[in-house]
């Protein structure tokens, strides 16, 4: 969640997409001879209205590339110079996409900030010319219109209309971003998408004509900011400098609080707007393009763009289509995880059986699913009718009836190997031969679970993250025996559930849990060394983690953390040592299990937002206190002790082949564990900050604490050879 918010704040970059589809054939609707010479834009004239159609070839989306820029300017100049044309309509012929923003590839190919600044200035010129157009221009938008694409839309001379997709288009109209909505059409005598675009164009032409004939007047006649976002009263208030200063201050404070100063873009945007308002639009434009250029070259920008690309990659099924698509899913265990898995399945139209052993447990799970859906009704992203239809995909039961028709079973029972063995055997007695058996576990090796299976090639791990409906990541774990088709099937289901997917090899802790555990071990040591939970939390969040380290232990559950730490500690030995597990043991014996029991490092109360420290922890912390080592205990050292252990383990996973690619490692760390998005994941972090610096840090801590900090071979290789990068 945090990741997505951060990405959202860099709106211009991240809004664009790099999907490429080579098989796409560009349809042309034009009647203009210019088609032959232009590839992105063609235009025809209907009466006295120029209809400009944008359609980048060989791409699912239109992005603001340099070619599109120049062709667009060419066409607009023709429009402005032609005496026959009195108004213009701007439309994309791609269903569901107007302009998705700047072309990431274009920005990526720039090596200096000057280049980016220049691109930005060219775009500004285009926007400015549009804004000052003497002839009315109507932008007819169907689908995504983001970043720079939105700017093509919003210059004040523009009159816009959208085809509505749910509440978003509605909201755009309320904000005043658009003037008119066109609802998507159903089937007629041609495909709905095609006819909807035609209809949008027809309506837009009527509007353009009306504007040119002065039969329709655009309601907006004030400057950009005022008319779009503010009412008259506030716009009066804004004309007073003092009020403006206060507003800048407030906004800045809020942004600082949200970004912790880790994301430069939002603050810069405020600066640019400030310049524009205080010193006039020319100064604003100049500042904007320069800042844009600078920002494009920052590490944060590179890291976030990398994450964006990684996310796109992890939304594809590289194992191909499964032989049999899963139509009937069964989930064993209606706990937090099981119900969450059921929820993200039924709301995508997947028939799902939710099975538990007792009626109260099942009822709790069903209620969780209903609540999850109903919350969307309250937010108006679903209608109550859609909710009901989705909820009817869920069948709650206490027996194995209907499992003979299941295509996949996902078990989400307690993390106990004997219990997992039992449900696997029970399920295999009733499920058909083709049915995949997936285990949702955070640490139990899938290979061990599969030992009791009659058909280990059908057994796979699907590690969801809590809360399932919010966390985007799904970690899929394959054993040596898991068949490729089983993997394809699991990835396919995960994608349908809307997940970002990494596929890793089986092993203790797989990838995500394995990276987190040494860091958790360090957390305990740091607490033992006398750093309080609050201080530790603030150190970790200010480094960019969405959740503080102590809070994270409470969220995960102290018992779970101890269980995992013990298991992995046995497997990996000294490397996973650090803090004393005695602390967790004492917490468990006092019932401080974290959020679920109401007490952990903090006290949790229903409805209380600011949580207080659990003062009963003081005695435990005091009894286990260790002396700290001053030369590795500065705030920065503490942050890096945590992060380097994490990063080192991640790279070791790649070295050992648990991870197939660095991309999956980054995506897993950011989307599953909250690794700071501004660093782009452990592998981007090493690339951008330099392997040598990280090795230096590890060596320093190694000297103090020993083997736990010994850098792995792959990391050392990267440090020794500065040309070696995880991302070329």
């Amino acid at each position: 969640m945090v990741a997505s918010r951060a990405i959202g704040s860099l709106s211009r970059f991240t809004a664009s997409r790099t999907l490429r589809c080579s098989g796409y054939i560009c349809r042309s609707f034009t009647r203009s001879s210019a088609l032959l010479t232009r590839t992105h834009i063609n235009y025809g004239v209907r009466g006295d209205v120029a209809v400009i159609r944008i359609n980048s070839p060989n791409s699912k989306v239109n992005t603001l590339s340099q070619e599109l820029h120049s062709e667009f300017m060419e066409v607009m100049n023709e429009v402005w110079s032609s005496s026959q044309i009195r108004s213009a309509v701007l439309i994309s012929t791609k269903p569901g996409c107007f302009i998705a923003g700047a072309d990431l590839n274009m920005l990526n190919s720039c090596t200096t900030s000057q280049e980016v600044t220049q691109i930005s200035q060219e775009a500004q010129k285009m926007f400015e010319k549009l804004e000052k157009s003497t002839k009315p221009v109507v932008a007819a938008i169907n689908g995504s219109c983001l970043g720079g694409g939105l700017e093509v839309g919003i210059p004040a001379a523009f009159d816009m209309m959208l085809t509505g997709r749910g509440i978003r288009a509605d909201r755009a109209k309320k904000m005043g971003l658009v003037d008119q909505l066109v609802e998507p059409l159903g089937p007629g005598v041609k495909p709905p998408e095609e006819r909807t675009i035609e209809y949008l164009e027809e309506v837009a032409i009527t509007f353009a004509k009306g504007l040119a004939d002065k039969k329709i007047t655009p309601k907006r006649d004030k400057g950009l900011v005022e008319t779009f976002y503010l009412t008259e009263l506030t716009s009066y208030a804004l004309s007073i400098p003092f009020v403006r200063q206060q507003i800048y201050k407030k906004v800045e404070e809020k942004v600082r609080k949200q970004t912790k100063g880790l994301y430069p873009a939002p603050l810069k945007i405020i600066d640019v707007v400030k310049t524009g308002i205080e010193q006039g639009s020319n100064a604003g434009y100049l500042s904007e393009s320069q800042t844009f250029g600078e920002l494009a070259m920052t590490k944060e920008s590179k890291a976030l763009m990398g994450l964006y690309r990684g996310q796109t990659q992890c939304k594809k099924n590289k194992f191909g289509a499964p032989q049999k698509e899963v139509k009937q899913l069964a989930v064993l265990g209606a706990g937090l995880m099981g119900a969450g898995i059921a929820q993200v399945s039924v709301d995508k139209g997947l028939q799902t059986i939710l099975k538990d052993t007792t009626l109260p447990a099942l009822g709790r799970g069903q209620q969780q699913v209903f609540k999850g859906l109903n919350d969307k009704v309250k937010k108006k992203t679903l209608t109550s009718f859609e909710r009901d239809a989705m909820f009817s995909n869920l069948i709650g039961q206490l027996d194995y009836r209907g499992f003979e028709k299941a295509d996949m079973v996902i078990e989400a029972v307690f993390e106990d190997l004997n219990l997992k063995h039992r449900v696997l055997k029970e399920a295999e007695a009733v499920i058909p031969d083709h049915c995949v058996f997936a285990s949702n576990t955070s640490a139990l090796p899938i290979g061990e679970i599969a030992t009791v299976s009659k058909r280990p090639e059908k057994v796979i791990g699907m590690h969801y993250f809590s809360p399932v409906d919010k966390m985007q990541l799904l970690e899929i774990i394959t054993t040596e025996k898991t068949s490729k088709d089983t993997t394809a099937s699991a990835v396919d289901v995960g994608l349908r559930q809307g997940k970002v997917i990494i596929v890793v090899k089986d092993g203790p802790g797989f990838y995500t849990t394995r990276c987190l555990t040494p860091m958790m071990s360090e957390v305990i040591r740091i607490l033992q060394e006398g750093v309080g939970p609050k201080k530790l939390d603030s150190l970790t969040t200010s480094f960019g983690f969405p959740v503080g380290a102590a809070t994270l232990v409470d969220e995960v559950g102290v018992d779970v953390a101890k269980h995992v730490a013990e298991n992995l500690g046995k497997e990996f030995g000294e490397r996973f040592a650090g803090g004393s597990l005695e602390m967790l043991q004492q917490m468990i014996s006092k019932g401080f299990l974290g959020r679920k029991s109401g007490k952990g490092f903090y006290i949790y109360q229903e409805g209380v937002k600011n949580k207080n420290l659990n003062s009963d922890m003081d005695s435990i912390l005091a009894s286990l206190k260790m002396p700290s080592q001053p030369d590795v205990s500065s705030d920065e050292d503490i942050q890096y002790r945590l992060v380097t252990r994490f990063v080192n383990e991640a790279i070791l996973c790649l070295q050992e082949g648990v991870l197939a690619t660095p991309t999956e490692g980054d995506i897993g760390a950011v989307f599953g564990l909250g690794f700071p998005p501004c660093l782009g994941g452990p592998f981007h972090f090493v690339d951008l900050y330099g392997a040598q610096k990280i090795v230096d840090r590890l060596r320093k801590y190694e000297a103090a604490y020993g083997k736990q900090f010994t850098p792995c071979q792959l990391l050392v290789d990267h440090a020794n050879n500065p040309n070696k990068k995880f991302y070329q």
């Binding site: 609802e183 007629g188 005598v189």
Partner: protein, 475 residues
């Protein structure tokens, strides 16, 4: 479902009558050719089936259909239904005790008379030994009443059934809000003064805001007029085409009224008012006048207006349905057979009003007929745009293949056989009563114009549809 049009055709000044003689552009140039060939030979001589009882409509009547808020505005639904029943008794002279069963269709139910069939039957003087029930299926409620009757007779349960429908849009049940209702119910249960006071203390002013009957489709929250506008746009039907079609409906209805063809209408003496003798929504206007109206739903660029939509109507209808042998034994000369029928349903969002398109090919197939066999078409006109969209869909191979899973289109009904005596746009559309009107119009037209088979079709809220074949009773 119900497009609660706040505008009615009253807005349109009633200009010259014959100066604007109906000027519909032929939608298809081939339709005339088809028509010429049609009346010659039929695929089947009759739709009678061995071992199945023939079911006939002896006759049917309706009250005049009036704009809501006019002469019927002080009545209750069962009053209107009773008028239709009395009219039917008078028209057919059927002895009351012969009637085995009574079924009525209605949509917006008056809560006091939720089984309106029973209340109307008792008031009309039927035997209290004759059971009655009420059905609802949106705009095809009385179609459902008739086909239920067909089922009762075909299965041998009954010989004589009265089916009908009623709608009174002049008065609709407006409820207290749920919160208010809850408070009032709680208050009812409270035993002590303290309990009562504590309940009353929870009262808030917003409890008083009333709850209107749903104007929009429950599943999609979209009003029917809005959906019709999108449907017209999807099929690229222009405002002009829609206005032309509406004008055709009004002009034809006017002509039929003037020539006395609407023989199913029975006069109704409204208590305290004058006797109503004819429909009052028929108002042929001019295309210029209609063009001035603003869109009623999708503003400002939509194409559905008050003038090309059906208006809110009060009215009731009833038909006498019998097993053929029973009718003959009683000395009746029936008007028509009720033959194969079909109910369909589809996507309530984007295809809400396409019922006739789906139902027509199915019912023709079931009966073993083709479009050419049909001499008379009576389609329910909810909106001009809806009728024209259905016509285009029926004429589209692409639509048939991609949405109906059929190999080819069913074809376009020839317009000269289509709703020749007006339709819901002009005669009015009391939701629950329109089905019987369609069947009687088909039966009467077959007698008047000559021909054997009539096709009745209608769309309904919820994305449902209905079609039925009516076969003329041999003279």
């Amino acid at each position: 479902m119900i497009s609660l049009l706040t505008y009615t055709l009253k807005n349109l000044p009633n200009t010259s009558k014959w100066a604007l003689r109906f000027c519909m552009r032929p939608l298809s140039s081939s339709s005339q050719l088809q028509a010429a060939a049609a009346s010659q030979t039929k695929s089947k001589k009759t739709l009678a089936k061995p071992n199945i009882r023939n079911i006939v409509v002896v006759d049917g009547v309706r009250t005049p259909f009036l704009l809501s808020g006019t002469s019927y505005k002080d009545l209750m639904p069962h009053d209107l239904a009773r008028a239709a029943l009395s009219g039917l008794l008078h028209r057919t002279s059927v002895p009351k005790d012969v009637v085995d069963y009574i079924i009525f269709g209605t949509v917006i139910q008056e809560v006091k008379t939720s089984n309106v069939a029973r209340e109307a039957a008792l008031g009309a003087g039927f035997s209290d030994k004759t059971p009655a029930h009420t059905v609802t299926m949106a705009c095809i409620s009385s179609n459902q009443a008739m086909t239920t009757a067909v089922g009762l007779i075909a299965s041998g349960q009954c010989d004589v059934v009265v089916a009908g429908g009623v709608e009174l849009m002049s008065d609709i049940p407006i409820r207290h809000s749920r919160k208010m209702r809850k408070m009032m119910l709680d208050l009812n249960k409270a035993k002590t003064l303290a309990q009562r006071l504590s309940i009353i203390s929870k009262f808030r002013l917003n409890f008083l805001s009333p709850e209107l009957p749903a104007v929009s489709e429950f599943s999609t929250s979209e009003t029917m007029g809005h959906s019709a506008d999108r449907l017209a746009a999807a099929f690229a039907i222009s405002r002009e085409e829609q206005d032309e079609y509406a004008l055709r409906s009004h002009s034809l209805a006017k002509k039929a009224q003037d020539e006395g063809l609407l023989s199913d209408v029975v006069p109704f003496k409204v208590p305290g008012r004058d006797t109503v003798t004819q429909d009052n929504g028929i108002r042929p206007s001019s295309l210029d006048q209609m063009a001035k109206l603003k869109p009623a739903f999708i503003k400002p660029y939509g194409t559905v207006t008050a003038a090309n939509s059906s208006f809110l109507t009060d009215g009731a209808s009833a038909v006498l349905i019998m097993a053929e042998e029973k009718a003959l034994a009683m000395g009746y000369k029936p008007k028509a057979y009720l033959r194969d029928f079909m109910y369909v349903s589809q996507d309530p969002k984007d295809q809400l009003l396409l019922g006739p398109t789906y139902a027509t090919p199915k019912v023709l197939e079931k009966a073993g007929l083709t479009m050419n066999d049909i001499d008379v078409f009576e389609f329910h006109e909810a909106f001009s745009g809806q009728i024209l969209a259905n016509l285009k869909a029926m004429d589209s191979d692409w639509f048939a293949q991609n949405y109906m899973g059929r190999k080819a289109k069913v074809g376009l009904p020839p317009l000269e056989k289509f709703n020749n005596w007006g339709g819901s746009l002009s005669l009015g559309h009391p939701f629950g009563a329109t089905g019987c009107r369609l069947v009687m119009a088909a039966a009467n037209r077959l007698r008047k114009e000559g021909g054997q088979y009539g096709l009745v079709a209608a769309c309904a809220a919820g994305g449902q549809g209905h079609a039925m074949i009516v076969e003329a009773y041999p003279k």
